[in-house]
């Protein structure tokens, strides 16, 4: 067929449509704005436009004491506030040379893993909700309520905890808390297989996520992806296992890695590094976290048996009231549910830091977004956002 006259070509000329997905949008997980240039359904480019939640947290840190900055780290990623607190505390302790006692470390790991469970439940629930299945999200919220209740017992808050302090934790756990955590672990164990029956094994869900947003391992490393996004692409790297901090070297757990395309794996119809892989990694991580919670409860029970004045039984190291940190800088990272959260802290010898830089997992995910979504359909863009588990306060700080 010949290409018609110039007049016909001019009349048949189609333009691409520029859509603005967000910042108010039910599925962009916060105030993310995507400038989507699309030809009907096929996306030519989806450029992220962030900054709607920029609060200048890093700059605020330069005017506050090290201890005063802790509540701000809650707000950097409110879905896993315990982990964010822990990352900041680790960095400052490394710089100041403070070593928290054993009980504090155990408590930190306990609340970290509980928070990981609740954060992953939100992520996979939200991904299912974006795919149109509203029920798994609410089931996840139902389980998460129990975690919230546990946290309320421990520190009084349900979302932004400010529980981990520099040198330890803020409060000791109340009586009977370990029994409740154990009960929760037993409750949670069969829930993931129930969840899988509902949504993970659903062939429509699989079709929506397989072969969508494929990221090869080399690309993942190059783009700086971390956490479940990196593991979903097949790179076996978990800071808890490979650069252990706190008491993770004493705990037994596995690191789930994506295995798309492997006929004997859990994603036989997909390809390595697709959205389904990243989703499955999170589902499996919940099970691993349940295991860790059980082990930590056992360790805490042993720790309870120690005499009350033994140094291992304390929940807070002795930290001076005005914490002066020696001159120096540190980059320290911690495994958050969304990947590695690294704190680069520069100290000039005073009580206030010179610079705090927070490097978060969602930042890298938004970074590579444009390249990943080229040529996908609009429904796939939504799937990719959900599978990356992007939380905007982390990106904008």
């Amino acid at each position: 067929m010949t290409a018609g006259t110039r007049e016909e070509q001019r009349l048949a000329h189609t333009e691409e449509m520029v859509l603005s997905m967000g910042p108010h949008h039910p599925s962009t997980h916060g105030v993310l704005r995507l400038e989507v240039t699309s030809d009907g359904e096929v996306v030519a480019s989806a450029r992220p436009d962030v900054g709607y939640l920029h609060r200048g947290i890093e700059k605020i840190g330069e005017f506050l004491d090290y201890r005063q900055f802790m509540p701000y780290t809650d707000r950097v990623d409110y879905l896993c506030a315990m982990n964010s607190n822990h990352a900041y505390a680790l960095a400052v302790e490394k710089l100041a040379g403070i070593k928290p006692p054993l009980r504090a470390e155990l408590l930190r790991v306990l609340v970290d893993e509980l928070n990981r469970i609740s954060s992953h439940l939100i992520c996979i629930g939200a991904l299912a909700m974006d795919m149109g299945a509203y029920t798994p999200f609410l089931h996840g919220i139902c389980h998460r309520e129990l975690v919230n209740d546990l946290f309320e017992e421990v520190c009084g808050a349900r979302l932004t905890y400010n529980y981990v302090t520099i040198g330890g934790v803020a409060y000791d756990i109340p009586q009977g808390f370990i029994a409740k955590c154990d009960e929760f672990a037993v409750y949670m164990q069969p829930k993931m297989s129930e969840f899988n029956q509902l949504i993970t094994a659903n062939s429509i869900f699989e079709q929506r996520l397989c072969h969508v947003g494929v990221i090869s391992p080399e690309q993942a490393i190059n783009w700086g992806l971390v956490g479940p996004n990196l593991r979903g692409s097949g790179v076996c790297w978990d800071i808890r296992k490979h650069e252990p901090y706190s008491v993770y070297d004493k705990l037994q757990f596995e690191v789930p890695v994506g295995d798309g395309g492997d006929p004997k794996g859990s994603n036989p119809r997909g390809v390595l590094g697709d959205s389904y892989d990243r989703y499955l990694v999170r589902v499996k991580e919940i099970n691993e976290s349940v295991k860790i919670v059980k082990q930590v409860c056992a360790l805490l029970r042993e720790n309870d048996k120690l005499p009350a004045d033994s140094p291992d039984r304390q929940y807070q190291a002795k930290v001076p009231a005005r914490l002066k940190v020696k001159r120096g800088e540190v980059y320290c990272r911690c495994e958050n549910p969304r990947g590695e959260t690294g704190y680069y802290i520069v100290s000039d010898g005073t009580e206030k830091p010179l610079r705090i830089k927070i490097r978060t997992g969602s930042f890298s995910a938004v970074n590579c977004f444009e390249d990943v979504t080229r040529g996908l359909l609009i429904g796939d863009v939504v799937a990719v956002i959900g599978s990356f588990d992007i939380v905007l306060p982390e990106v904008d700080r």
């Binding site: 599925s27 359904e41 029920t135 139902c142 129930e194 429509i204 929506r208 359909l377």
Partner: protein, 482 residues
């Protein structure tokens, strides 16, 4: 007793108008109310599946009861007028049954009146039409969608004597009028002057037009099977009762269309296509809330949005009613003794023997029809809250590459079966063939029922056993007692 015709002084034009308008009005009002209650039920079903409670606050007591009590209080005031006192005594009389209704509804359907509250709220909202929108099209679009959904109700046989009209091309008319909703949706998408709405409208048009084909194939197959296009005729065919049937021999449920093997395969195909016509999950791409934020009706607010909403639920009821008529025997109860109990005789209509029932038979038929239709509507709701949605290309692939070949195959199978029937009838006679098909279908139905019983009562696999045990040990429903 003088009939209405006589009362109108023999004015046949006025009589015709009333004879047509009154049933239409009744049907419209009833279906609108049912659609409204469906919104409430949908939320309750959703809540049940999601382990929540759902709406439970808007009850008769706080709503109407308080109103009546205030009336009674005002009537007892010292300087109340005669009208106020009259209203107060009327209120006092109404109060006990109202309280009883509140108790019953509060126990069985808490929050039922939320659909009325929602309707009131939507009417009272500000009517916003964006400046650059095409105002005329914007205004007309909801009415077109509503009209196409309700237009199909004109031929649906609710019972043997209760229907608005009995066209001899009934089902064909239904297929035609439900296709009109595409126009309304496209209009809404275009006239909103909003790219998201446009995307939603285009997706919806593609979806509905594509899924018309499996619907048409299912309808064609049903027409082949029953030999008539009239919906009342189809139902009577599936009822199976003739002058020479005894009280056990005809009128059973396995004479419904669905228990023919080809129709058994086609019924889910039609159901999926009906889901797509109603824009319900898993085919709710046009209103994919998480992608398009409401799709084609994103710019609509207030009552206009309520019209789209009503149209969707009405469409659900209509397509379920059609599915029931095509496959599940319409208003027939499926239990032969019940049928024959209500049977009053036969009369000839348009050259065909048609059974006529007593008033209690008609009422029973209406109840069964309503139960079957609403069962399908509840099934649609169940599916919505369980399954995720398809992507646009997957949905189109499902239609064109899977449903349509299956539909065509079933159509050919039924056509072949009709020819085979003709040949066999010449060999062994009509009556014997009738009995053979009767018992064949009974066997098939019993086979299906037996398989279902076996599937749901088979012993659990070891994993399922272990899981059940663990769940029971963890005292699951309320979690750990905190």
């Amino acid at each position: 007793m003088p009939t209405i015709y006589d009362l109108l002084g023999g004015n046949s034009a006025l009589y015709t108008v009333i004879a047509v308008a009154v049933p239409c009005l009744i049907v419209t009002v009833v279906v609108l109310t049912v659609a409204g209650i469906s919104t409430y039920l949908e939320r309750k079903v959703a809540a049940d599946i999601q382990r929540r409670i759902g709406p439970n606050q808007c009850n008769v007591g706080p709503f109407l009861g308080e109103f009546v009590r205030t009336m009674v209080r005002n009537g007892a005031a010292p300087r109340a007028t005669g009208l106020a006192r009259a209203m107060a005594s009327a209120g006092k009389a109404v109060l006990p049954p109202l309280d009883w209704l509140d108790k019953v509804l509060g126990r069985w359907a808490p929050g039922l009146l939320i659909f009325m509250a929602d309707g009131l709220k939507l009417i009272l909202k500000e009517d916003i039409i964006s400046d650059a929108a095409d105002k005329r099209l914007f205004r007309i679009a909801p009415y077109i969608v509503l009209a196409s959904a309700f237009g199909a109700l004109a031929v649906v046989p609710f019972s043997d004597a209760w229907y608005v009209a009995d066209f001899n091309i009934g089902i064909f008319y239904v297929a035609a009028i439900t296709s009109l909703e595409v126009l309304g949706i496209l209009m809404a998408g275009w006239a909103s002057n909003n790219k998201w709405a446009l995307l939603g409208g285009m997706r919806s048009a593609a979806q509905i037009v594509s899924y018309e084909v499996p619907v048409g194939l299912a309808i064609a197959t049903a027409i082949l099977m029953t030999g008539t296009m009239s919906m009342q005729g189809m139902t009577c065919e599936q009822l199976g009762i003739t002058r020479d049937s005894t009280w056990l021999s005809d009128g059973w449920f396995w004479q419904w269309n669905i228990f023919h093997p080809a129709m058994f395969i086609l019924a889910p195909v039609y159901f999926l296509a009906a889901l797509a016509e109603c824009n319900r999950t898993p085919f709710d791409i046009p209103e994919a809330e998480s992608e398009l934020v409401s799709g084609y009706h994103v710019e609509y607010s207030g009552m206009r949005f309520a019209l789209f909403f009503m149209a969707e639920y009405a469409m659900m009821c209509v397509t379920s009613a059609i599915a029931v008529t095509l496959f599940l025997g319409g208003w027939s109860t499926g239990i032969a003794p019940l049928e024959h109990l209500g049977l009053a005789g036969f009369e000839v209509r348009a050259g065909v023997q048609v059974p006529v029932f007593h008033w209690y038979g008609t009422l029973l038929h209406l109840l069964f029809f309503a139960a079957k239709t609403y069962g399908l509507v509840l099934l649609m709701m169940w599916i919505r809250w369980t399954l995720p949605r398809f992507r646009v290309d997957q949905m189109m692939a499902l239609c064109w590459k899977k449903l349509i070949p299956i539909g065509l195959f079933c159509l050919l199978a039924v056509a072949a079966w009709m020819i085979l029937r003709m040949v066999l009838a010449r060999q062994i006679g009509e009556a014997l063939l009738d009995r053979i098909t009767f018992w064949g279908r009974a066997a098939f139905a019993c086979g299906v029922a037996g398989w279902l019983l076996w599937y749901f009562s088979r012993p659990l696999t070891p994993e399922e056993e272990a899981q059940r045990e663990m769940v029971a040990r963890a005292s699951v429903e309320s979690g750990p007692a905190l």
